[in-house]
């Protein structure tokens, strides 16, 4: 099946039709998407600024990472669920939107980075990790999630 067929199917699906028909429901999905983005931003920034020794310096970074990771997962799940709902209503427009693909690439990279690189590495005692590696992880994470948010915002402008 070609990718465009999937987008055509999405737009005609019940989810796509709900978003198209009920403007209020669509707008609610958008604001939930924004709130999940805010929660995600909070968890990412608190963790990464701690790893950079900017924030909560008197709290062990292991404690911060463990506490925020649970809410990161909640935020990213909610962001994906509301994102699918929003995209379904305008699926064909998304298919031809360069910023949509930029956001999907950044999102996939961000998720892979957190679950396959950052979080597994931060399971070790942070004292045993080279500080340069810790700081690089934090900077890469902030840049990745900033890219997700920025490209997402520019979908609407293009």
């Amino acid at each position: 099946m070609e990718l465009i067929s999937f987008f055509e199917w999405m737009e005609t699906s019940a989810l796509g039709q709900i978003g198209k028909t009920y403007g209020g429901v669509y707008a609610l999905g958008q604001s939930l998407h924004l709130m999940s983005l805010a929660l995600l931003g909070g968890t990412v920034l608190v963790t990464d600024l701690r790893l950079l020794n900017v924030l909560l310096r008197d709290v062990p970074s292991e404690v911060v990472v463990e506490s925020t990771h649970k809410w990161f997962k909640v935020a990213v799940s909610l962001m994906i669920a509301t994102g699918i709902f929003m995209a379904a209503a305008v699926a064909l427009r998304m298919y031809y939107n360069a910023f949509f693909w930029a956001k999907m690439t950044a999102l996939a990279t961000g998720i892979a980075f957190v679950f396959f690189v950052k979080y597994p590495l931060l399971q070790r005692k942070h004292d045993s990790i080279n500080p340069v590696v810790l700081k690089s992880l934090a900077v890469a994470s902030i840049l990745l999630w900033f890219s997700v948010a920025a490209t997402g915002r520019w979908i609407g402008f293009s």
Binding site: G23, A27, L28, Q30, S31, L34, M35, L37, A38, L39, L40, G41, G42, T43, V44, L45, V46, L49, L55, L56, D58, V59, V63, V64, S67, T68, K70, W71, W145, F146, A149, A150, R153, W154, F157
Partner: protein, 186 residues
């Protein structure tokens, strides 16, 4: 009377070259709007973490006052950028925004959130010594944290709804909507 004053003020802003220049600048306007939305990640993100700590849902082994105090600085930086960019967005589209029912509701929700935050901090500072290391804040502070989350959810939602023209003054609205939006007869 108040609606008339607000509309005249908005029209005065609208007549300024910088206002229309900002609105018509594709990159400038969109960058300001993007910054406004992206600072949600800083301001609201930090606020969410503080409120979740008060509700006993994260960092329960870290003193609540420490979480609130440490996250307060980046939160206020985010808030300042959000206010500045928000004012610029208003300046770029003053007339329509002044007569947007969603903008008006957002404004009142912002005031309510501000009062709630002030009361929250006052109550927290008064009592924190007795419960700081407890995983959950006392009931009154938990209610305030829950209210804070609800009010900011309202601010985000109404902010998002400003973009929709369902109740704009050029449409045929009920008397109540027209009054609440401050629509003036032509």
């Amino acid at each position: 009377m108040l609606n008339e004053i607000l509309l005249h003020f908005a029209e005065w802003l609208d007549a300024q070259a910088w206002s229309s220049g900002l609105h018509e600048s594709y990159y400038m306007y969109n960058w300001i709007e993007s910054t406004h939305v992206l600072t949600l990640m800083i301001f609201l993100g930090m606020l969410f973490v503080i409120d979740l700590r008060m509700l006993g849902l994260t960092m329960t082994n870290v003193p609540a006052s420490k979480v609130a105090a440490r996250l307060n600085i980046p939160m206020m930086i985010g808030f300042t950028i959000m206010v500045v960019t928000g004012l610029l967005l208003y300046y770029a589209v003053p007339v329509r925004t002044t007569q947007s029912i969603w903008f008006r509701v957002k404004f009142f929700l912002l005031i309510a959130a501000g009062i709630n935050a002030w009361l929250f901090h006052r109550r927290m500072n008064e009592s924190v010594a007795t419960w700081d290391n407890e995983p959950v804040a006392p009931k009154r502070l938990r209610y305030a944290a829950g209210l804070s989350l609800a009010l900011w959810a309202g601010v985000v939602t109404t902010g998002r709804l400003i973009a929709y023209d369902w109740y704009d003054c050029y449409r045929v609205n009920s008397d109540l909507i027209a009054w609440a939006a401050g629509c003036m007869a032509e």
